[in-house]
């Protein structure tokens, strides 16, 4: 049993990590032709370039981080109350609301983006960071709303009533009793929001009009121009937050499912 689990974990880790190995190798390679198993020569040139001033990689890294953080904060502020209402309240047309919330996930992003581009142009939001944050909310919000809705749907609101009966105000009941219980799930929602924003390409390209440079845009331009070594270094920089978040949240993910599983 335990060996079976370990084997499964090993297979999963291999499947996830193996594709990244060539990227790491490329980032240290100086010429690597087809039949060769390893590069002819090694070099730190790609890394030096990436961290240098000319590449703009560091600027793009911070820009992407800023956009992803802003998107996450706004998405949580809007999405958690919406999810709470969807999860707890009973009202007519709830299925319709769910469908509307899901719409950005169902409709292809490029279609939405082209339509939004025209609107954003008229509003003067193209080419600005705020415009990019706004358009990132389109794919991010559904995640936050749906995760919080399922979180609250499994939450027994009588906990808040019990707290009230014992002397807590409405706000105290939420903050002292509900918040600690739903927090692990909300952390997961926030991390997913961050990653979804972090990995946006098309929306940033269209609405940013080339003036908002993020890591995925930079990565794509180097990859398509055949600079595999720099693309490799950038790709590693690009996947770094994902791996860090996964490691940091694995405990929260487990706690989150435990919270949901209990009721």
């Amino acid at each position: 049993m335990i060996w079976g689990k370990r084997l499964a974990a090993l297979v999963l880790a291999t499947a996830l990590l193996l594709p990244l190995v060539p990227l790491a190798v490329w980032s240290f390679a100086r010429g690597w032709r087809f039949p060769d198993l390893l590069p002819q020569a090694w070099s730190l040139r790609a890394w030096a370039y990436t961290f240098g001033d000319i590449s703009g990689a560091l600027g793009a890294f911070w820009q992407t981080t800023l956009i992803a953080c802003a998107t996450t904060v706004i998405a949580m502020a809007v999405g958690v109350p919406a999810g709470r209402a969807l999860g707890l309240a009973r009202f007519g047309g709830k299925a319709m609301v769910y469908l509307l919330v899901l719409a950005p996930v169902i409709v292809p992003g490029i279609a939405t983006a082209l339509g939004l581009h025209a609107v954003f142009l008229r509003l003067g939001l193209t080419g600005s960071v705020s415009g990019v944050v706004l358009v990132h909310l389109v794919p991010v919000l559904p995640y936050v709303i749906l995760v919080s809705a399922s979180l609250f749907a499994n939450y027994n609101l009588d906990y808040e009533r019990q707290a009230r009966s014992l002397g807590a105000s409405a706000w105290q009941a939420f903050w002292q009793v509900t918040r600690p219980q739903v927090a692990p799930g909300l952390v997961v929602a926030a991390l997913f929001a961050f990653l979804v924003s972090w990995s946006q390409y098309i929306l940033t390209l269209l609405i940013g009009s080339g003036q908002v440079q993020t890591l995925p845009l930079l990565l794509f331009s180097f990859a398509s121009s055949g600079r595999n070594d720099i693309a490799g270094a950038l790709a590693i920089l690009y996947i770094l937050p994902g791996i860090l978040i996964l490691l940091a949240s694995s405990r929260h993910l487990a706690a989150g499912t435990a919270t949901l599983g209990r009721t």
């Binding site: 027994n156 009588d158 009533r161 707290a163 009966s165 014992l166 002397g167 807590a168 009793v177 219980q181």
Partner: protein, 356 residues
């Protein structure tokens, strides 16, 4: 002093159906009052209105002499202990018990003293650091009680406090609650669907049927002198003989029965009524064993049912079924088909209005 006064409160849903219908009730301070009713009778709605989670459409609620209509739950002197207990899973036993005190802004030193007192009162020694998930069912129950009592409420509302417990734990919990009441003097309103629980715990019982408080009184009175056939039925009464009262005698198709002389309730003068008697009050003897005197009739056993502590005997006489509860010793050897004599002692008889 009156701890709780309900003044003709009513509550309906927007669909027009009435959940609570003009319920009036006074509960004295220090009393254990059981609100007894089947599921769907409106007990939960009534309790939510007392605790402040719902407002009545009409009528008044007073707690300790103060009207609390429109008052938030946290400002009321009534603390509800939910059926699911709802111990806060992220807090230790100590923090659970101290929760209400913390919300009231009590200093950590005072809070700690009060929590210690509660831990002693409910025998939770050594469990203060545990999380609720690490406690047994009985311990969780005691923590929930300690948490509610810590805030020194005027009224403790207990919603089905024993429903989640095993039989032996129920008795223990019943004793715990009675002990708490005698030591703290808190007024307890017990919400239950279990008549035995209500009878063993409460000073008085209120029977709630379909949103109406049908009868309020001490347990014995409810069992022996039900106000209606519905109350009698809900409390396990199964013998109802239609007939009419005429000058202290109940005349029915089964014969005439002498009624107790002392009591004269309002229903006794009504022409038509149902004669009722508790199954355990009926005396049963072999056909030849008992001389046929007043209030006796012959019957035939049609079924017996062993319940562990009693035997329920179904008998039939002239198309009327009569139920008798006997101790297993007294029922030994009784078989379906046996001819028996039944004695309905006059002092155990009672007449309720005939709803038909």
């Amino acid at each position: 002093m009156t701890a709780l006064r309900l003044d003709a409160i009513s509550k309906g849903y927007t669909s027009g159906s009435t959940v609570i219908d003009r319920v009036s009730l006074d509960v004295a301070a220090g009393e254990i009052f059981a609100l007894l009713g089947p599921s769907g009778s409106g007990k939960t709605t009534l309790v939510k209105m007392i605790a402040g989670f719902e407002e009545p459409d009409r009528g008044g609620i007073e707690i300790a002499g103060q009207s609390c209509l429109g008052q938030a739950p946290e400002r009321r002197g009534a603390v509800l202990v939910f059926q699911d207990l709802l111990l806060f899973p992220h807090l230790s036993v100590t923090d659970n018990i101290g929760f209400g005190l913390k919300m009231r802004g009590m200093t950590p030193a005072d809070r700690s003293a009060k929590v210690t007192e509660m831990i002693a009162l409910l025998q939770l020694h050594g469990l203060g650091g545990r999380k609720p998930s690490e406690l047994s069912g009985g311990q969780q129950q005691r923590v929930a009680l300690a948490r509610a009592l810590a805030v020194s409420p005027d009224i403790l509302l207990l919603d089905e406090p024993m429903s989640g417990l095993d039989q032996h734990l129920r008795e223990e919990m019943g004793q715990t609650i009675l002990g708490l009441q005698s030591r703290t003097g808190v007024t307890i309103i017990l919400i239950t669907h279990d008549q035995a629980e209500a009878a063993t715990m409460a000073d008085r019982i209120g029977v709630l049927l379909e949103g109406r408080l049908e009868q309020v009184g001490p347990p014995r009175e409810l069992y022996n002198r039900p106000a209606s056939a519905a109350v009698a039925q809900f409390l396990g009464g199964r013998n109802f003989i239609p007939g009419q009262v005429r000058s202290g005698i109940f005349e029915s198709g089964l014969g005439h029965f002498a009624l107790p002389e002392t009591s004269a309730g309002p229903t006794w003068s009504a022409a038509k009524g149902l004669l009722t008697i508790r199954p355990e009050a009926v005396r049963l003897a072999p056909a030849a064993g008992m001389p046929l005197h007043e209030n006796c009739l012959s019957a035939q056993v049609t079924a017996t049912r062993f319940t562990g502590t009693a035997v329920f005997v179904t008998t039939a006489t002239e198309g009327q079924s009569l139920y008798v509860a006997l101790s297993p010793q007294d029922a030994a050897g009784l078989q379906p088909g046996d001819a028996v004599k039944l004695h309905l002692p006059a002092d155990a008889l009672w007449v309720v209005p005939n709803p038909a």
